[in-house]
């Protein structure tokens, strides 16, 4: 497979064109916004947290296929997870992107560790300038998780 085909997997284009959980939440929720100033990509997230678990999520954003697909896939991966597992997932995602987060890869058997569909994004790693596209939703999520925990 050429690196372009690895980057633009079918599932990524599908999420780009049909983003999941798009919109805003009503009722109590936390909200966070992220921006990539160098390229202008925007991402925002609403999280509804119940008993330490992500009960619902909604996202909005504008940007390239990578950032938007990453965000859409992220919503599917975190909904229903505990805040803790969502954090583990964030760590694991960044590790997959080759970002040194000062931690080892997680035991792939742990629920928070399973990237699933998100693994389609591993082709991004070969495109260093696009890594920040893929991680924008995750840094925004981290922000929302911080809020949810305080």
């Amino acid at each position: 497979m050429s690196s372009l085909d690895e980057l633009y997997r079918q599932v990524i284009l599908d999420h780009y064109r049909n983003p999941r959980h798009r919109g805003v939440l009503t009722g109590p929720h936390v909200h966070a916004e992220g921006l990539n100033p160098s390229c202008g990509d925007e991402f925002s997230i609403d999280l509804k947290v119940e008993d330490g678990t992500i009960a619902d999520v909604a996202i909005q954003g504008r940007g390239c296929s990578i950032s938007q697909a990453s965000g859409s896939m992220m919503t599917e991966a975190i909904v229903g997870k505990t805040l803790h597992d969502a954090r583990l997932l964030t760590t694991n995602f960044k590790l997959m992107m080759g970002i040194d987060v000062g931690a080892d890869p997680l035991d792939p058997e742990r629920p928070g560790a399973v990237l699933g569909d998100l693994e389609a994004l591993q082709g991004v790693r070969k495109f260093p300038v696009r890594i920040k596209c893929a991680t924008l939703p995750w840094t925004t999520l981290a922000d929302a998780l911080d809020q949810a925990e305080t």
């Binding site: 690196s3 284009l13 160098s38 202008g40 504008r62 296929s65 990578i66």
Partner: protein, 410 residues
């Protein structure tokens, strides 16, 4: 089309490969590549006459000063300034615009005064005025674009009144290629006694420029966008305007005398060149000006009109592609922004880059314009004298691949 392809040999970088393909550099509006003539001039300066300028009685210092002032004279001649003293060397267009906003604006503008801009301005010609507004309470007013991406002057008469003190306009948009209507604006501004500041960062590199003929008050440009090194640019100002301006930086060289509590300034242009200037970079700019002059700026412009025309024609063959910019290639510059179906500009740039084709994607430091055009990002191909129709053909091939990667029919 004027064939300048023989010049490509002067540009070492054009012979490198990117991702296994010969480089096609279509990002000259961001920064241009450098010919060996410029690189050699800079290198020779360091190897034979490097010294600090203006301060020394020794031979090296005299030679360095002559090289530096010689570059000033070349730049002055290149834009037909009235005198070399009307050229202030700065780090680039951005710094020059800030000098004007602070150095002239802080001392001449106050609450309620208006500065007229256009929605197509680069951040460099927006943010300094916003910063000035914080300190002075001036108001910013924007001209918009018409359907063919030209600056819309229809409301100008209503807009211009004695509150307007400055009209600051780009002579050529780095996004749409639109030529700013400098002449009509100079005339209109004069009628209410307003100054005209021209952001010529995209004009001077691409077109013959005659500051006396344009008759604005200030005009700025960057060396790195015209074959010269990074770190150097120029601020041209009419003598009277420069005399009225206060220095924005204090330090050595810009003084006549320094006391413990007060100082007196050196004459223009030294007054605006505090500290050790970018000497070698100025020498490089002088060499770039020599290079461009030898080719002839009319030739450079003709070549760009031709290649822009060819590009617009070929892009029209790509389905779902939309160009943001004037349609007549002879009435615009060689920065061609476009979108392609629902493929985001960054994805276009990545796909092209895989084929060694370097285009820019994003907001191009013109967020107000992107909002005005209601498009979050565009891809942009921009040209200079070293580009050929082959480059354009490879661009178009790449765009067809982008379509196919994103599942569109070729």
């Amino acid at each position: 089309m004027t064939d300048l392809s023989h010049l490509r040999d002067d540009f070492p970088i054009l012979h490198r490969e990117v991702n296994g393909w010969p480089l096609v550099y279509l990002d000259s509006a961001a920064t241009t590549q450098k010919p060996v003539q410029v690189l050699d001039a800079v290198d020779a300066f360091y190897r034979t006459k490097n010294a600090n300028v203006h301060r020394g009685a020794h031979t090296l210092s005299a030679e360095a000063t002559a090289a530096y002032e010689g570059a000033r004279a070349k730049v002055a001649a290149f834009v037909n300034a009235g005198s070399p003293n009307e050229i202030v060397f700065s780090r680039g267009a951005t710094t020059a615009l800030n000098h004007i906003a602070y150095g002239w604006g802080l001392n001449h503008l106050s609450a309620g005064d208006r500065v007229v801009l256009t929605v197509m301005e680069h951040h460099a010609n927006v943010v300094p005025w916003q910063l000035l507004a914080r300190y002075t309470g001036i108001e910013l007013v924007y001209l918009t674009l018409d359907d063919d991406y030209e600056v819309d002057l229809t409301g100008l008469d209503d807009l211009l009144d004695e509150r307007v003190k400055v009209v600051a306009i780009s002579a050529m948009s780095n996004v749409t290629g639109t030529l700013g209507p400098v002449r009509p604006l100079v005339e209109a501004a004069r009628s209410v006694g307003a100054l005209v500041v021209v952001d010529a960062a995209q004009l001077v590199p691409h077109s013959p420029t005659d500051v006396q003929d344009l008759d604005a008050d200030f005009l700025v440009f960057s060396g790195h966008k015209m074959l010269a090194p990074t770190g150097i640019g120029a601020l041209w100002g009419k003598s009277e305007r420069l005399e009225e301006m206060e220095p924005t930086e204090g330090g050595g060289e810009m003084i006549a005398d320094v006391g413990l509590y007060e100082s007196r300034w050196a004459p223009v242009p030294q007054k605006f060149e505090a500290g050790t200037p970018p000497v070698a970079q100025a020498v490089g700019l002088g060499a770039a000006v020599d290079y461009l002059t030898a080719i002839g700026m009319e030739t450079v412009r003709a070549h760009e009109h031709a290649i822009t025309g060819y590009t617009l024609k070929r892009l029209a063959e790509v389905p779902d592609l939309k160009v943001y910019g004037p349609s007549d290639p002879t009435r615009r510059g060689g920065a061609v922004s476009f979108t392609l179906a629902d493929i985001h500009a960054h994805d276009i740039a990545t796909i092209l880059d895989q084929r060694g084709i370097e285009v820019r994607a994003g907001h191009h430091c013109a967020k107000p314009l992107m909002r005005y055009l209601a498009v979050p990002a565009t891809a942009r191909a921009s040209f200079y004298l070293y580009n050929t129709t082959d480059d354009v053909d490879r661009l178009v091939d790449g765009l067809f691949e982008a379509r196919s990667v994103f599942g569109f029919d070729a």
